[in-house]
């Protein structure tokens, strides 16, 4: 079901967490709420889930006004950064929790739980306690638990934030495939732009309690609405007084029209890329180049170069 948020405002004391936020999430999509920590994205998610109350504004789920509906009657799936596992219950009982609350007949609970444990590849771990699972497994359990009740929407609050990089990447790909399989409208809160750009259909950038921009990953990356969005989504540097991406700068050894002349300050190697720092007039832009480009251009500190912004 679709999610719609209109003019939501929320303050904690003097701190304005959300300042008149509007948001529309189309049915069946995976949308990322992206922004720096403290920008208000988690608060917005909690308001949609009913775990926090907005000071002003309304929330619609599937067209129904749920602003006054308590969390336990909204039928949303919520997944937390630190898993929120029920530590005294086995994996199976964790997943069954919402179904038991709804007093479904036992055979049906059993069938549904088995189905979900298969879906998240935790079948062999059904009788373990959460403490006996890895972080990634716990989060998959939390996802199965949230999906078990057939929620109207799935809300994920930094779900991979507590995991290490490799597991994070793996779970992100898996979440994307799971979403394509299950098709439930999903809202993913993250501060990791790579996660948002890779996994989501739609990205909403939130900062200082306001929506900065919303659009597809390509749109927001290629046509950022402002310098904040540009800087948040990827690396930036300044060339000729403009904020540009370091991989959008061409480096030449001879003069070209519109190029800025400069001298190489130093070369930093970071894995498969070079960062070439240049002194160009009063600016010190840096350019991202592949090792073979650096070798082909025979770049060394002190060499003269011409920088051209590729458009």
């Amino acid at each position: 079901m679709s999610i719609e948020v209109k003019a939501v405002t929320k303050s904690f004391g003097d701190f304005v967490a959300l300042d008149g936020v509007d948001l529309t999430v189309a049915e069946g999509r995976l949308t990322a709420l992206l922004g720096p920590s403290g920008g208000g994205k988690s608060t917005l998610l909690r308001i949609i889930g009913g775990l926090d109350e907005a000071d002003e504004g309304v929330v619609f789920l599937g067209g129904d006004d749920v602003t006054a509906v308590p969390a336990r009657r909204r039928n949303v799936g919520f997944v937390f950064q630190h898993y929120a596992a029920f530590r005294h219950l086995t994996v199976r009982r964790n997943v069954a929790f919402g179904l038991e609350i709804r007093k479904l007949p036992k055979p049906e609970v059993r069938r549904r739980v088995d189905e979900l444990l298969d879906l998240v590849h935790l079948g062999p771990f059904a009788d373990r306690l959460p403490a006996q699972l890895s972080g990634g497994q716990r989060q998959r359990m939390a996802l199965a638990r949230a999906l078990a009740v057939r929620p109207r929407v799935l809300l994920l609050d930094e779900p991979f934030g507590a995991l290490d990089t490799a597991v994070r990447r793996e779970l992100r790909d898996w979440l994307r495939r799971l979403h394509d399989e299950v098709g439930v409208t999903t809202l993913l809160v993250t501060h990791d732009q790579e996660e948002a750009l890779e996994a989501a259909d739609e990205v909403v950038i939130i900062n200082n309690g306001r929506v900065e921009q919303a659009g597809s990953p390509q749109q927001v990356y290629d046509r950022p609405a402002n310098e904040f969005v540009m800087g948040f989504l990827g690396p930036v540097t300044t060339l000729g007084g403009r904020v540009v991406r370091p991989h959008d700068i061409e480096v030449h050894r001879d003069h070209r029209d519109g190029a800025v002349a400069g001298r190489v300050l130093r070369l930093d190697r970071l894995g498969f890329e070079f960062r070439v720092h240049v002194q160009a007039g009063g600016e010190q832009p840096w350019v991202q180049l592949a090792p073979r480009e650096v070798h082909a251009l025979e770049l060394r500190p002190g060499e003269e170069v011409y920088l051209l912004h590729r458009t």
Binding site: G50, L51, R74, V76, F80, A84, F86, H88, A131, V149
Partner: protein, 261 residues
């Protein structure tokens, strides 16, 4: 170092306790049985059980309630409440007893006098003794649960909420099982402390001996020793046995809790 430690514990604990055991044994099994099965002794044990059991039951209910309040909510006066619930640790039990008499005593008690006129007795009766014991053991349950609740946070409660659980369902299915071992530990500690309580209970009880009166086991031990009557050491031995049992249960629970982590 080890010799000093062993010597210290021996001088402080082992020798005195051994003396009690020895004095009881000296009098023989017959005297032991007579001392602990007399009408007076049985009445005292029964009263101790009633007072300790009620006080602990009250503290479990209020301990869990106040612990939830302290761990989960931020409100004006929260810090004051947190300090107040620790007060019984630092206040002498005698002072606790006196304070209760002042407030609830039948003649001059601020609240006690009106209640006395209405025919309700608190002091020099079982309710006063339960109140005194509950006051003294108040922090024990509470202090065990609060850290567990704080470490657990609100996430699992919120998860249960999103899954459709009502407040009561969340309490019974999630919160209580989470604090279960800490609660059990607190209950055992409180019971041990409640059974051994002497000072506060002595002040509020009036210490009237006999069946249906206000003499607990510790008060009877005191009376028998003071009056040079036989049976004091035998009563003490029973209380020591209860204490040892408590230590065993507590250490079993403790190792269980460590395994659970």
């Amino acid at each position: 170092m080890r010799a000093v430690a062993v010597g210290y514990v021996a001088a402080l604990v082992i020798v005195p306790v051994a003396m009690v055991v020895w004095r009881s044994a000296q009098a023989g099994v017959g005297a032991f049985w007579q001392a602990i099965s007399s009408e007076q002794a049985v009445a005292a044990f029964r009263l101790t059980a009633i007072v300790a059991g009620s006080a602990v039951a009250i503290n479990v209910v209020f301990g869990v309630g106040v612990a939830l309040l302290l761990a989960r909510y931020r409100f004006p006066g929260r810090r004051l409440l947190a300090v107040l619930v620790d007060a019984p640790i630092s206040v002498s039990p005698i002072v606790v007893g006196l304070a209760l008499v002042l407030a609830y005593g039948p003649r001059e008690g601020w609240l006690g006098a009106p209640l006395h006129r209405a025919g309700i007795e608190l002091i020099y009766a079982t309710p006063g003794m339960i109140a005194a014991t509950a006051f003294v053991t108040l922090p024990l349950v509470l202090r065990e649960i609060v850290p567990v609740l704080e470490a657990e946070g609100l996430d699992s409660d919120h998860a249960a909420r999103a899954l459709g659980a009502s407040a009561a369902q969340r309490f019974w299915r999630i919160t209580l099982p989470t604090v279960r071992s800490a609660l059990a530990y607190g209950i055992v500690l409180s019971l041990a402390r409640a059974i051994g309580e002497f000072g506060a209970v002595k002040v509020v009880s009036g210490n009237v001996s006999g069946v249906g009166q206000t003499q607990t086991a510790t008060l009877l031990v005191d009376e028998r020793i003071e009056q040079l009557e036989p049976g004091g050491y035998q009563m003490s031995l029973v209380l020591i046995a209860v204490a040892v049992l408590t230590i065993v249960i507590v250490s079993a629970l403790q190792s269980g809790r460590e395994d659970g982590r």
